[in-house]
């Protein structure tokens, strides 16, 4: 069978998270439990495919998708019970560890962080801290869930631009790094390239060893299986060697951040 052939699935439910982010609950016809940080290719027949990290896996596969390009635009126009193709899960996820985990998520980086959080909580591991940055209070996803999480572990949120009702932190996510409880943690960073670059710089100032830093990388991707040649970072392919990389492996690659 062709490894690029998607399986037919359907949208069980969908709802708005923010003005430009929608969540899609998709029937998991693959029925394989994904590892936190892995991704799927979502396929719209006749339109195209897009690689998206999953956010949650229980009653189906949950994806929270920002409208950013052609295919995500089509996705946002879809309805409940519409057909969708899926293939995956692909790539290497975040390490499963007993160590304390500091999750640093920027914008649409929170959904993949959710997969780590839910995996930990389901194993009665709440050695987690979440530092989450968004553009504005309107752009925060999973607002109810964030409040539930706050009861179980430390959650700090910051926004680039506040509104009148916002009483929390204002500024980029590195502004709340002073809340980091334990520098002897694993740091999982998921977000835009510029945010990841500065997050790593700050962690290095705090003497966090390279080996304890993990980045979820993003590149243009087509096949998802390491053959189309698009997503390379040096000798690595984001689709099969990543998307999660230990920083020590990729830190010397000049095109890491752009």
């Amino acid at each position: 069978m062709n490894p690029m052939l998607p399986l037919k699935s359907k949208i069980l439910d969908l709802w708005d998270e923010t003005d430009d982010i929608k969540s899609f609950l998709i029937e998991d016809v693959i029925n394989k439990k994904p590892l936190p940080g892995q991704f799927y290719e979502l396929s719209l027949s006749g339109l195209g495919e897009v690689p998206i990290s999953f956010a949650s896996w229980e009653d189906g596969l949950l994806f929270s998708i920002k409208r950013a390009g052609k295919i995500t635009e089509y996705l946002h126009r879809m309805k409940k019970n519409d057909e969708i193709g899926i293939r995956g899960p692909y790539g290497k996820g975040f390490p499963i560890t007993d160590k304390f985990k500091v999750l640093i998520a920027g914008g649409i980086g929170l959904p993949p962080a959710r997969s780590v959080i839910e995996h930990s909580l389901s194993n009665s591991d709440n050695k987690i801290q979440l530092l989450y940055g968004a553009r504005s209070p309107r752009d925060l996803v999973y607002k109810e869930l964030l409040n539930e999480w706050k009861k179980k572990f430390d959650v700090k949120i910051t926004v680039d631009v506040a509104d009148d009702n916002w009483s929390g932190h204002v500024g980029v996510v590195t502004k709340i790094f002073n809340y980091i409880k334990n520098t002897d943690s694993f740091f999982y960073i998921i977000g835009p390239t510029i945010m990841m670059k500065f997050a790593v710089m700050e962690l290095k100032k705090m003497n966090v060893p390279d080996e304890n830093i993990f980045l979820s990388m993003e590149r243009r991707m087509k096949c998802g299986i390491g053959i189309c040649g698009h997503c390379n970072i040096g000798k690595y392919y984001v689709c099969k060697d990543g998307p999660v990389f230990n920083y020590s492996l990729i830190k010397d690659i000049p095109e890491l951040f752009f």
Binding site: N2, M4, S45, R220, C228, N232, I253, E255
Partner: protein
């Protein structure tokens, strides 16, 4: 097993093959030789083509999820192109379209006995193959035929002697004598991300992507939908190759894209597979309209 066939009978052999299979070989179209379907044995000429037969196994554009592949024989394949398929196997081997065609397209190697103008195959593997379906060497009035595959053996074949093999080996050594061998010593380790050639090349490169399309080892492809799902050869030289949604681009300038092309061939692929993604066919050098030369990259590291 070793056989030989007279040049006169060789045409009849090609006719015999045409009777059983679809047979392709180098044919002059306009001013260039390209792989084309042969109608009779007379049409065959043992000439190195401008483009490799990569497209016969990995078409420039194809519908995905098809399973209709016909058995064909390709004559006049050169070792540089044959080696390239061995390399593509390591990447595209998991793809069903590619691997199905790989099984039904038979490539017959015709050993070069003279160097071609831009080739530098002796830097890597040279004109003879150790693994082949059929290997033909021009030894004067005859072709020496080496094969372990009885399917393509024919009554026109005669017994070959060790002397015939000796002549064949001498003929291929001629290529080694006349061709300049480049120094690849630890090149993958020594070649750096920074090299003044990237900028220099970028000042004259016109981003045509011909180097990628002429290269027998370039495998990158794009996937797009137009009712059905298709894939199409892509070029790392083009600006859109690594562009993400929102126009973010890890390689926004041409020098960075040229760097990707050369480092992929001479560093990254070596680090993953322990060989260079190049067979020294010289086609990228020949086809480049502005004389960008991969040999200059190699020499810049190992003079």
């Amino acid at each position: 097993m070793m056989f030989k066939i007279s040049k006169k009978n060789f045409q009849n052999y090609v006719d015999f093959l045409i009777g059983k299979y679809e047979v392709w070989g180098p044919k002059k179209i306009g001013s260039d030789y390209v792989f084309s379907k042969l109608n009779n044995g007379q049409e065959f000429e043992d000439v190195r083509t401008v483009l490799s037969p990569k497209d016969l196994i990995y078409p420039p554009n194809e519908k995905l999820f098809e399973d209709n592949f016909k058995e064909i024989i390709v004559l006049g394949v050169k070792s540089c192109d044959y080696r390239a398929f061995k390399m593509l196997d390591d990447v595209l081997g998991i793809d069903s379209n590619y691997s199905m065609r790989r099984r039904v397209v038979h490539m017959f190697n015709f050993v070069c006995t003279e160097p071609c103008k831009f080739g530098f195959c002796t830097t890597f593997y040279g004109p003879r193959l150790e693994e082949y379906e059929m290997q033909f060497t021009d030894i004067g009035d005859y072709y020496l035929i080496e094969t372990n595959d009885l399917r393509f053996v024919n009554d026109l074949f005669e017994k070959a002697s060790d002397d015939d093999l000796k002549i064949a080996l001498e003929k291929s050594k001629n290529v080694y004598k006349k061709m300049q061998k480049l120094n690849m010593d630890k090149l993958s380790e020594k070649i750096g991300w920074e090299n003044p050639l990237w900028k220099e090349f970028s000042q004259r490169c016109i981003s045509c992507g011909a180097c990628n399309f002429a290269c027998p080892t370039c495998f990158c492809f794009d996937v797009y939908d137009e009712n059905d799902r298709y894939r199409e050869w892509d070029s790392c030289i083009l600006a859109g190759f690594s562009k993400l949604a929102g126009n973010a681009n890890p390689r926004p300038t041409l020098d960075l894209r040229l760097r990707q092309r050369f480092l992929h061939k001479l560093k990254f692929h070596y680090e993953n597979f322990n060989y260079y993604l190049c067979t020294g066919c010289g086609r990228c050098i020949e086809i480049c309209p502005v004389n960008i030369d991969i040999r200059d990259v190699i020499r810049s590291v190992n003079p």
